[in-house]
Amino acid sequence: MTTQVDDELWSAIGDPSRRRVLDLLVSHGEVSASWLAGHVPFSRQAVSKHLVVLEEAGLVSRRKQGREVLYRVEAGRLDQAARAMADLAAQWDQRLAVVKRLAEAAHVESLDTPR
């Protein structure tokens, strides 16, 4: 548990539909909620709900342009999330590598021991 992903961040990116929204923001830059709603298989209402969660987690920010509200990804925070995920993955890789070593040693030992 050396990697601590804070709960808000974790919960924000833990949801596949929110990751879909994030992916769209990453690839299309600054867009409106209506535009997002036209590119996902869920309602405008759901998009708004996801944007609120993402904004609270600091992953997304918004600004007003004329009558439109435009959303964009907060790159620093997203990097932080991606790094935390990468750390967690690396941590599991290390653990699995030790399990491999221990299991293979135990197996070799059992083969050497006369039954």
Binding site: M1, S11, F42, D79, R83, V99, A106
Partner: protein
């Protein structure tokens, strides 16, 4: 599986029964996982993992020797861990031939708890790809299979 966050795996030159012991026996777990493990490996059992002076409670979910073992952790204190407030760690052991075992671990987070089932299914269907894309693009990390 909805909400999958991390998936890693390794190919081990040992039968599944041997790998199972290393993965699930508390005195073995201290060699690769926590510094101290208080755990009875039974479904529903509450235990504790110590990491230095930190640590946290865990609750065993599935025990199906020698293929499946899972527990939940990182849930709020005073709460029972369920989908939505905790992380689920699942180990899957798949025998390959007589002498090899593929060990896969997934650590998954908050599920799609507030979504209707039909929508959950739709997202679950494409979630793996979505997450892969997300990580690939942002961190250059792939959650795809890792050669053993």
């Amino acid at each position: 599986m909805a909400g999958l966050m991390i998936e890693r795996e390794v190919l081990i030159e040992a039968p599944a029964e041997v790998v199972w012991r290393i993965v699930t026996e508390p005195d073995q777990m201290t060699k690769w996982f926590a510094d101290r493990v208080e755990l009875v490996v039974e479904p529903g059992a509450h235990g504790y993992m110590h990491f230095g002076d930190q640590g946290g409670p865990v609750v065993v979910e599935t025990v199906d020797p020698p293929t499946r073992f899972s527990f939940r952790w990182n849930h709020p204190r005073e709460e029972e861990p369920v989908a939505g407030n905790s992380m689920l760690v699942e180990f899957t052991l798949t025998p390959e031939g007589d002498e090899q075992t593929r060990l896969r671990v997934t650590e998954s987070g908050h599920d799609l708890r507030d979504w209707p089932d039909a929508e959950k299914q739709r997202y679950a269907d494409d979630h793996r790809e979505g997450w892969g894309d997300f990580l690939d693009r942002l961190a250059g990390v792939s959650v795809a299979r890792q050669p053993g």
